[in-house]
Amino acid sequence: MKNFSGKVLFLNRSDINTDEIIPARYLTENTKEALKPYLLEDINLEGFDNKKDIEGKAVIITRENFGCGSSREHAPWAFEVNDINLVIAPSFARIYKRNMFNCGMMAVELPAETIDQIFSVFSNHDTDLETVFNDGLFILTAANIMESFEFRISGFDRALVEAGGWVDYADSKY
């Protein structure tokens, strides 16, 4: 199973699309590793610098409809090669969410009010998130604040995270 704990990168905007996550000009690469420097290069987000703000982060917390647009699995891959395997948002685009779990990564939905609360308490601090997978728990810590939030993923998504992906599972079963 991949790592789902570490420092949090807050992206405070809804509808961040997969062209912003990894622009199409990099879809000519035939390896995942080549995508690493280009993650979030075209994001339309005031004050964000992809050259400085991604380093050392392991978790994204963001707003609604994350990963909309193109079906490119290069979007999860670009996160994966930057050691970011978990995105938390109120909602995701269908294909993006499927692609994350198909890669053994996690796209986890929390209610919009919870995300609001997390943004207001934590987004101005250097924040760590610990995932307790078996208990379905995220523990957020920053300075002297600590809060935990329950999460739920579907049985299929859980199976994919535990199996590390969908290809071998499907090949053995169908």
Binding site: E41, N44, S70, S71, R72, E73, R98, W166
Partner: protein, 429 residues
């Protein structure tokens, strides 16, 4: 209880329900292009699973960057080409006989009512125009589709959009779908199917229906869908005439893929288009839409007519009608890319290509190219493009550029005016 089109197709293809909210369905076709397939092929090879579930149900095309623009894109084409040869996938469309995937696969008769189809491309939702269930997927789902002919999906709840009223002059399928996306938002149909119905859809040709369904993904939908009817039969007749004695028999058979009168919808939206104006996007989201009249005078550097949304023959005919006898403004440049080789040939025969050339357009080969900023018409930082494509995302057509989505008619009028315009030219006045 009645079912929707999508539910009927889905139910007849379910082979497993391994978890509460997930269904594994059998696929009638898997389509491939050179951007998302090569990594799937390489992964299958590295897993020792270089197999395909059924060579006759897999179709492939090189369309995104064609001709190849550099060594990397040449390699993507090469991997796809060699894979089709290795597995004897006969329906492979290389340069010279290719086209934008969602234009060429329907044109070849590969999309039929009742089919389930996936492709590693989000605009696979286009195929719903034929009463098929077409869903865009990522590379892993594509890989499993290639290997096993199955896909795991959630059950398709449907939003029905009844489009009624008289289509005003100068308003086309593109304006209608832009107005719907503006209404429900880029997240308005996530995980849902958008069923387009009503008299306006019934009177539309297949090209217009494809434009409607094509942009369902811009509202987050899994697929757009229209009921198959005699228009669908006429389009497909050359491909199905050996299977049916008469067109009526075909229509009768396809009617099993129409929604029941008592089908359950998640939501029904009545959309009267009688006073709809030509629509244009602003900003970086496809739901940022305004009437073209409110964008009048907006500076444009490039006009682009093409793509899986609006590069079909009907689109080129409308644009050519407006361009005929006119020159495009010196303030901008124009590019037209007929969506397939066959459309290109047809446009040549009808004098459409000559009209574009005389107006001052650059006529380029069929390709996705500029739509997603990969080749054949990328714009510079700070430039704007009036485009018949489907996405106005930040950087979509080139870093730092702005895309205004619109119909081919508005794009052609804009090319002549030199700025966005709600022109009388396309109102037949």
């Amino acid at each position: 209880m009645g079912k929707t089109i999508a539910q009927k197709i889905f139910d007849s293809h379910i082979i497993d329900n391994p978890f509460e909210d997930i269904y594994v369905i059998r696929l009638d076709a898997v389509f491939c292009h050179e951007i998302t397939t090569p990594i799937a092929i390489n992964d299958l090879v590295s897993r020792g699973k270089d197999r395909v579930f059924d060579t006759s149900r897999i179709k492939a095309v090189i369309d995104h960057v064609t001709p190849a623009k550099d060594s990397k894109t040449a390699l993507q084409g090469k991997i796809l080409r060699e894979w089709t040869r290795r597995h004897k996938i006969n329906d492979f469309f290389d340069i010279g006989r290719n086209g934008v995937c969602h234009a060429i696969f329907p044109e070849k008769g590969f999309v039929r009512p009742g089919y389930t189809i996936i492709m590693g491309d989000s605009h696979t939702c286009t195929y719903g125009a034929f009463g098929a269930f077409g869903a865009g997927v990522g590379t892993t789902d594509l890989e499993v589709g290639i290997l096993k002919g199955v896909c795991a999906l959630g059950y398709p709840e449907t939003i029905k959009i009844n489009i009624c009223g008289k289509i005003p002059d100068g308003v086309f399928a593109k304006d209608i779908i832009l107005s719907i996306i503006g209404l429900i938002g880029v997240n308005g149909a996530t995980n849902k199917v958008m069923e387009f119905a009503g008299p306006v859809v019934e009177n539309m040709g297949m090209d217009a229906r494809m434009t409607l369904c094509n942009m369902a993904i811009e509202a987050g939908a899994t697929c757009g869908i229209c009921a198959p009817d005699m228009t669908t039969v006429e389009y497909l007749w050359d491909f199905i005439k050996d299977e049916y004695k008469t067109k009526e028999a075909a229509q009768n058979d396809f009617s099993k893929y129409c929604s029941d009168p008592d089908a359950t919808y998640e939501k029904i939206i009545d959309h009267d288009i009688s006073i709809l104006e030509p629509m244009v996007t602003f900003g970086y989201k496809p739901d940022n839409v305004k009437p073209a009249s409110e964008m009048e005078g907006t500076k444009i550097d490039q006009v682009y007519i093409g793509s899986c949304t609006n590069g079909r023959i009907e689109d080129l005919r409308v644009a050519a009608k407006i361009l005929k006898g006119n020159k495009i403004s010196n303030a901008l440049r124009g590019i037209v890319s007929p969506a397939t080789t066959e459309i290109y040939r047809q446009a040549l025969d009808e004098g459409i290509i000559a009209t574009f050339l005389e107006a001052g357009f650059c006529v380029t080969n069929p390709t996705c190219g500029a739509c997603l900023g990969m080749s054949n018409g990328i714009i510079a930082e700070g430039e704007t493009c009036a485009s018949t494509t489907n996405r106005n995302f930040s950087g979509r057509m080139g870093k730092g550029g702005m895309v205004h989505l619109m119909s081919p008619a508005t794009a052609a009028a804009t090319a002549i005016a030199g700025h966005i315009t709600n022109s009388k030219l396309y109102k037949g006045k």
